[in-house]
Assembly symmetry: C2
Homo-oligomer: 123 residues x 2
């Protein structure tokens, strides 16, 4: 879907900041934090966080905390889990063969933490 449509569908103003933000998330297809974004476009952090808040409310992006005290955001698409390495802090996306179910609970994200392939080889 086009960025323009995503924004207009939710009755949000189509601003340059929002278009650029969603273009990056759409292109990268992986969790990004503000630091990642500001290397790519010139945007005030207040603008970033306010728009992210709106995108989260509108279910356009979803965020989670990583090891490094930073929140990472990702555009909503096919459901998948994340693996966060405790050593290198790298975040990987994983497709779930058999998504976990828990009666009474709604699971929207699953995060595995541990040691990734690369770090396992190095130690």
């Amino acid at each position: 879907m086009q960025i323009k449509n995503i924004i207009e569908e939710k009755n949000l103003k189509l601003t340059a900041a929002r278009r650029e933000l969603l273009e990056i998330f759409n292109f990268e297809q992986r969790p990004l934090c503000f630091e990642d974004i500001k290397d790519k476009i010139n945007m005030d952090k207040a603008t970033f966080y306010r728009n992210i808040l709106m995108f989260e409310k509108e279910s356009i992006v979803r965020g989670f905390e990583s090891n490094d005290k930073k929140r990472y955001y990702e555009i909503q698409g096919s459901a998948h889990s994340h693996f966060i390495c405790n050593l290198c802090n790298d975040i990987e996306c994983l497709d779930e063969v058999r998504p976990k179910k828990l009666s009474g609970y709604t699971i929207v994200d699953t995060i595995y933490k541990g040691i990734c392939k690369v770090c396992n080889k190095e130690s």
Copy 2:
């Protein structure tokens, strides 16, 4: 195992702060952040975080980030997962029937995020 033994086994000095800290973690058997601790004992935050760092290095406790930008710590015991509610931020411990395995990776913690039983009922 006795708190005293845990500490001496790792060749750490047995101080009042360390004993009290581990007593709380041992008694509560659930993830706690500094805020939770400081309500129970009088301890400087620097002392808390420095000891936690040491406990983590010695694999006595393990920590993870929650939704609320705070890090929660738990004494190491039987392996289990955690569920964090996106609405009320409550953290629950879950026993895994079939722990996830990923070839090449070492999984030490699994965190499910979503909406808990209580919040699901309320909405």
